[in-house]
Point group: C2
Chain length 208, copies 2
């Protein structure tokens, strides 16, 4: 399956600004991208970057500076996804993605959708030519509605690993706990450790 990986190359993850400097956020985002690409390749998929500017990666890249929704929908329209020719869309910050988790995008259903926390949509497989995305707001519910509107069947991909998109400081603990790739190593190298004092484990930085 061809899988689009949207990537905001120039705009680092701003909601991590309380934990990481701007250059650090760029570097950490690149590590997460590497993990996602590795998981997709490990599942036998063909990842393609849909990126706001060219990045130094050995992967097919389409440069599109527009917002996420417009860029993805143009790619979907161009591809004309169908039952035998699905297109995946997988976010670049799923640092816990594994080949096993992303391979579940191959399950039947015109639209296979993995929710993120807070109502987002972290991964999709589209097998219906009329389905379009809308990533604004609570996109998961919007995508269920959009599928119904075009008569596409929906299958929920129920994965914790794909539900964790790393946006906020609290998410870093999940990477330390469950990651084993580049993003995990990046955080360790940057001095982050698990802190098990509170109700849930958090990530604290012990050095810079």
């Amino acid at each position: 399956m061809r899988v689009l990986v949207p990537f905001a190359a120039e705009r680092p993850k701003t909601r991590l600004a309380d934990a990481l400097s701007r250059p650090e956020r760029r570097s950490f985002a690149a590590a997460m991208l590497d993990d996602v690409l590795a998981a997709l390749r490990g599942a036998g998929f063909s990842p393609e970057l849909l990126t706001t500017e060219r990045v130094d990666r050995d992967v097919t890249q389409t440069v599109d500076e527009r917002p996420l929704t417009a860029a993805v929908n143009d790619a979907l329209a161009e591809h004309g996804a169908g039952p035998d020719d699905p297109v995946g869309v997988v976010m670049a910050d799923l640092a816990l993605a594994t080949p096993r988790a992303v391979s579940r995008l191959s399950a039947g259903g015109d639209v296979v959708v993995a929710a993120g926390r807070g109502g987002g949509t972290n991964a999709l497989a589209v097998r219906h030519p009329a389905f379009r995305v809308d990533y604004h707001g609570a996109s998961f519910l919007d995508h269920l509605r959009a599928a119904r509107r075009v008569g596409a069947s929906v299958r929920e991909l129920d994965s914790r690993r794909l539900a964790v998109d790393v946006d906020e400081r609290a998410d870093l603990a999940e990477v330390l706990l469950h990651g084993d790739g580049a993003a995990h190593d990046w955080l360790r190298d940057a001095g982050f450790e698990l802190d098990a004092d509170g109700g849930r484990v958090t990530a604290t930085r012990t050095r810079r």
Copy 2:
């Protein structure tokens, strides 16, 4: 499969104190328990309450006032879990649990484990007589180690629905977004609605 559902009947969910009064927390916790029991029964499992005091539910109940770990380990020791006689342990606050999600506890593996956020362990299936739990701190990693120590194979149950234990205000949005049972209805009836203004959708209370 026999599935233990630990339930702290008298101590409401204290970390929800900023969102719900004490009687409300008791009532909401009971609604979540109903959802978990329904999901387990829907999967063909036999749920049993391991509760700190008797509750008004038509379900087998063992009353044990001790902390979670001691109570569960005694139940595991008494049962003597084996390959053909597994025991499940599923938390009572998994308001997004569905029959499909919990049925994945039947997958092979001496210990099947579903992580919660922040390093917790939300669901287990135990098929090894020597495996014991320790819910203190980052229990997920501890349970991986405990399985290794007794030579038990481990399978990760990668489920977002089982990863969401409802402890904190931020978790309420997940119930509004993805729940369709008693807990979801309880929150709606109590005046909670989704608020899609921020980066992630949150739950706000519009009335009392």
